[in-house]
Symmetry: C2
């Protein structure tokens, strides 16, 4: 199967590495507008060839779009225009509803399977790509009823070959849930980094005092603005609501601190501790 | 050297394991008021004997207090009353100024070295103790001028044997810096967990959608309220200020999201990205 990966960064690159290693793809074409990244993707053997979008689309059986979500919306109709009969397109964006809406009336809509593999690191670009990034993780496929069953089957099969579990979800629901479970944790981390950088002008103090806890909490603050700003724009309504709730919780906790209210602080933290069970897949 | 560890949990227990393995302690006595923990500490071989405070203090060369910081303040004067001549006391609390003030007029003040080893996990109790927890990390020793040089030398040597780097700092400065670099990252994480638990009533959705990023950001939200509530109380003034700044930054970012202001979001995230360099020990 000939696979085109549009965007050879962390996600696209990691998919390319595994899809070749697992013999899913016989040939991997890379579309990459960043010349430095294109060079890296060839150097690291991420893709077999760097090709233009116009040349790669008509010869590909599967096209994976792994670029910032604003670019995906721009490029997706063009790709659906050019695909060969029976070919399948998927994207890996962290928002799904705007992307689905952008092609809802496209004649080849059924050949597109909107997906969101929940995997990644705080790094980006071809050099961040790694094998087995997806192993054991979850991917969300959205709006199944708008996709051709064969297209769903192919994309599902591909993710299963990457070692992923599959969950079907409505694109609107997806965007609400990820606002809470993914997007605001990024903002929380970005702004924690900013707060500390603002207050600790002597950065060696941060370096000296940062334990593994701080490092863990600000890790996402190293993430790429090129990738995340478009996500925050597309999911702004849900994120605003989630962020509002988060700020409310923080403000309430600050009040407990100001009032030196041990009991209320304790109770709030005890409640938060429930996340341990939830992340272990247990009921609260 | 006979070492008494008051509190056989994550920090005390991990110190005990390494101090024995590295032949620093010939005998380790554990003082543990939680009967279940006392049993575990013996079962796991964390300590050689469980002993009462009254019996262990007069026969110990070094006493390490590794209990919640409110308990430390209560117990510290009593320990300094009972220590033998030349013996040394240290604590491992995440706040330093109130603890220092609580014994500033004690006749044996010079035998106490306030310390803060910056190491830990989100787990607690003797079963959370592990070898090499401190290797390569930083410990802060406070208010050196109030300590006997021999006491400083002993505590410094002990931490170096655990593989730690040493930094001296004023206790007031320590508490300001840790409010930013440690304490608010815990609150950020506790409240992120709460927000998500509040909004996602079907907890399987959290389990399904949580990627490594979310897991990393809420990890500290699993931490022990028994340990952290007293820290937040003792450092309430600094934490309130840090948390106020953090809430301000988040509110500002929320405004950018509401206004769909790509440029401002991008700029704010790019600034936050500076934390990568800082945590690598580089200049911004």
């Amino acid at each position: 199967m000939i696979v085109t990966i549009v965007g050879t960064g962390l996600i696209g690159g990691s998919m390319a590495l595994d899809l070749r290693a697992k013999h899913f793809a016989t040939k991997i074409l890379g579309v990459e507008k960043n010349k430095h990244h294109a060079k890296e993707a060839m150097m690291f053997g991420t893709v077999d060839e760097i090709e233009t979008l116009s040349k790669s689309i008509p010869i590909s059986d599967l096209i994976i779009i792994a670029i910032p979500v604003a670019e995906t919306i721009k490029i997706l109709p063009f790709i659906l225009d050019k695909i060969k009969n029976g070919a399948v397109v998927t994207d890996v964006g962290s928002t799904k509803n705007d992307i689905c809406n952008s092609v809802k009336n496209h004649p080849n809509r059924k050949q597109f399977v909107p997906s969101h593999p929940i995997a990644g690191t705080e790094n980006s670009g071809p050099k961040a790509a790694m094998k087995n990034l997806f192993e054991g993780k979850m991917t969300i496929l959205c709006n199944k009823k708008n996709c051709h069953p064969d297209a769903i089957a192919l994309v599902k099969n591909m993710y299963e070959i990457l070692g992923m579990k599959i969950l079907f979800m409505d694109s609107k629901d997806h965007d609400i849930h990820v606002a809470y479970v993914s997007h605001i944790s990024h903002i929380s981390s970005f702004m924690l980094a900013t707060t500390v950088l603002d207050m600790e002008k002597n950065t060696s103090t941060i370096f000296n005092l940062a334990g593994s806890g701080f490092a863990s909490t600000v890790r996402l603050g190293k993430s790429s603005p090129e990738m995340w700003a478009p996500i925050f724009l597309q999911n702004s309504k849900n994120i605003s609501q989630a962020l509002g709730t988060y700020i409310k919780e923080l403000t309430e906790f600050k009040n407990f601190v100001d009032e030196k209210d041990y009991k209320k602080m304790f109770k709030a933290m005890k409640k938060a501790n429930g996340i341990r069970k939830v992340l272990e897949g247990k009921k609260l």
